[in-house]
């Protein structure tokens, strides 16, 4: 009897799950989610299809014909874009350039924000609230306002030290880090305030110093927030055009967005480059998103206190 029950249980659970999925409210939710997915997927799939078709077909037959005539699929466009290899100004060179900007900018913002938030929440110095309010104030400063002052600042720094960050990769990275930090600190600080202070005190008694507390207690607990921050920051920097355009001025290496932008400007008949380059620029953030997604665990703090 008990054995029979144990065997049938999963089946029962399955039917129940199915039933709950079919309940009106769930049904509506699933329809909405389905629509959202379709809206998101159609343009992406079309871009992918265009990038995989011969450029001569553009404007002659629709991209959706790839479903009925898959033989027209070809990697020709990619081969052509990649054929220049790492030559300056080519697509692979822009991928590398963008990565050289995005990865440091993301890592720096995530690390510095986490450390700053640790100090703001668990530190024991005066004026923590004031500093935090200042950070909140910086959240609303528009990027455009800072372009000229920062360029001048770089110039002045160049006069002083002989290294002018304007037009260099470090210059772009520094700008992105500076603009990513207020939001990063805001996000991490708000997350850390939810970590019970008792946990850190328990750690102190167990023998941990500040650095160990940060690494072994706070950082693992803050991982979901750090992961979201890293994703936001990565996508924001990866897709940035304005900052790159201004601060890479004069540099032979371009970001992907600048690379794509230059094609929209010069050659009217370059849809295939845009489609192919667009797919290349979408792929990386997607990989990042799915790689970090597993850190979005709910209820990391369960069982800590009480």
């Amino acid at each position: 009897m008990a054995v029979a029950e144990a065997i049938t249980q999963p089946a029962v659970a399955r039917t129940r799950r199915l039933a709950s999925r079919l309940r009106p409210s769930h049904l509506a939710l699933n329809v909405v989610l389905g629509l959202v997915a379709v809206f998101w997927l159609v343009p992406t799939v079309s871009l992918l299809a265009i990038s995989l078709r011969d450029p001569s077909t553009y404007g002659v037959t629709g991209w959706w014909t790839v479903f009925t005539a898959p033989t027209q699929l070809t990697l020709k466009n990619y081969e052509q874009l990649f054929s220049t290899g790492l030559a300056t100004g080519g697509v692979l060179d822009s991928v590398v350039t963008t990565a050289l900007i995005t990865v440091p900018a993301t890592v720096l913002v995530t690390v510095i924000s986490s450390l700053a938030a640790y100090s703001l929440v668990f530190g024991r110095w005066r004026g923590r609230t004031a500093v935090f309010l200042l950070v909140v104030g910086l959240l609303v400063v528009p990027v455009q306002v800072a372009l000229i002052p920062v360029a001048q600042l770089y110039d002045a720094f160049g006069h002083l030290t002989g290294f002018n960050p304007f037009g260099t990769l470090p210059g772009v990275v520094i700008f992105h880090v500076a603009f990513g930090l207020p939001f990063g600190i805001f996000l991490m600080r708000n997350f850390y305030t939810g970590i019970p202070k008792d946990l850190l005190e328990a750690g102190r008694i167990d023998g941990a110093g500040e650095w160990t507390l940060f690494r072994r207690v706070v950082l693992p607990l803050g991982l979901p927030a750090a992961a979201s921050l890293a994703i936001f920051q990565f996508i924001w920097v990866w897709n940035d055009l304005l900052v790159g355009l201004v601060f890479l001025g004069g540099n032979a290496h371009h970001t992907l967005t600048i690379y794509l932008y230059s094609f929209t400007r010069t050659l009217a008949n370059n849809y295939w480059v845009i489609a192919t380059g667009g797919i290349i620029s979408i792929i990386v953030p997607l990989i990042i998103f799915f790689a970090f997604q597993r850190y979005f665990v709910r209820g990391v703090l369960a069982g800590a206190v009480k």
Partner: protein, 366 residues
């Protein structure tokens, strides 16, 4: 294991709030001392100063003879069991217990041995791989205890470790902690606002009120010879009854009178009152010392009418009105008292406590 001494320990919070006021307490090696007092009296603050989590405003904490005022928590060789457990939610039960030893660079094999031993004592062996979130309240509590005992600290500090448990589990864990204390022969400082916990577990109890130490002694001392009205009212359950009474002299003897109350004093006590020139005193008598029926000679007599009778099994808890006051008594269930009955309750002279009504100090010295 070590002796812990508090010398004039004082904490004044920013804003001027005096949370602990010149606390002096000498805790012997291996002793189990309870700090008790009502909510907000400064128990946690005192404990946190011993642990090093709170700055000391003035005074000294000595652990094993050494002043530790300026040492960070990790160098004080103490373990603290938090009221909230404070388990690391992202670590397994095993790692929660092992963390302190890992940080102290204890060899792996030794850590494993210590953790397994603690898990065995606390009956946690089956849960070592679980996260705290997958445990019941009682199991979490035991993990918190385990984290403390694997370290073999000089002293254990516990801040109301049982307050989040239900009544049954509380009694069970109370026994577990008492057993643990006997087994480890460790110095333990245990904070609670529950005097029953203190009475059942402690070698000595320190009663604190509004940051000031009221009395230190064995549970028996505090119960039989409370130093003042606060301790008398705090220790013992249900709480002691108090009645303000006038001192009257007639003929050879002294009597204390209030509405519905008469206390005939023994000669020694009468003399002491006369020496102090007191016109009125506070009379205290414990519920368990009040018995129905009149009593000849010295002692206390109280006439009252019964409001509520609570059946406790062997005994009955009686709420009675006497001269506009609520008086509580515990009487044998065989006595069969009913609501509305008028009774005389009496107590023997040795069970009558007298307090100075102005300073609340005990006038009863035995």
């Amino acid at each position: 294991m070590a002796r812990v001494a508090l010398e004039d320990l004082t904490k004044r919070y920013a804003g001027g709030n005096l949370a602990v006021d010149r606390l002096n307490l000498d805790i012997a090696d291996g002793e189990f001392v309870c700090l008790v007092g009502p909510s907000g009296c400064g128990k946690t603050t005192a404990l946190r100063m011993i642990a090093g989590l709170e700055d000391i405003s003035s005074g000294r904490v000595r652990i094993g003879g050494k002043v530790v005022n300026l040492l960070p928590p990790r160098d004080r060789d103490i373990a603290l069991v938090f009221q909230s457990y404070a388990l690391y939610p992202h670590m397994s039960v095993y790692d929660n217990m092992a963390f302190g030893l890992q940080l102290r660079k204890t060899p792996k094999a030794q850590i494993e041995k210590a953790v397994r031993e603690a898990a065995r004592i606390l009956d946690l062996e089956r849960f070592l791989d679980r996260k705290p979130g997958q445990l019941s309240g009682g199991q979490r509590q035991r993990v918190a205890l385990g984290r403390a005992i694997v370290r073999e600290p000089a002293a254990f500090l516990m801040d109301e470790p049982l307050s989040n448990l239900d009544a049954k589990l509380r009694v069970q864990t109370r026994a577990e902690i008492a057993r643990l204390h006997q087994r480890l022969e460790a110095t333990m400082i245990y904070v609670t606002h529950d005097q029953v916990e203190a009475m059942t577990m402690a070698d000595r109890i320190a009663v604190i009120n509004e940051g000031v130490l009221q009395q230190v002694g064995t549970p028996k001392d505090l119960y039989e010879q409370p130093a003042n009205r606060f301790v008398a009212g705090f220790i013992g359950s249900p709480a002691m009854n108090f009645v303000e009474a006038e001192v009257t002299q007639d003929g050879g003897g002294s009597r204390l009178l209030a509405e519905g109350l008469e206390v005939v004093l023994a000669d020694a006590q009468a003399a002491r009152l006369r020496d102090r020139g007191l016109r009125s005193v506070t009379v205290g008598v414990r519920p368990e010392h009040l018995h129905p029926g009149a009593l000849e000679g010295p002692g206390l007599r109280l006439s009252a009418s019964i409001d509520v009778v609570e059946f406790l099994g062997n005994d009955e808890l009686i709420h009675a009105a006497s001269g506009g006051r609520d008086v509580v008594a515990i009487v044998d269930a065989d006595v069969r008292l009913a609501v509305g009955d008028r009774v005389v309750l009496s107590a023997a002279p040795r069970h009558v406590y007298l307090f100075d009504p102005d300073r609340d100090m005990s006038l009863t010295v035995r």
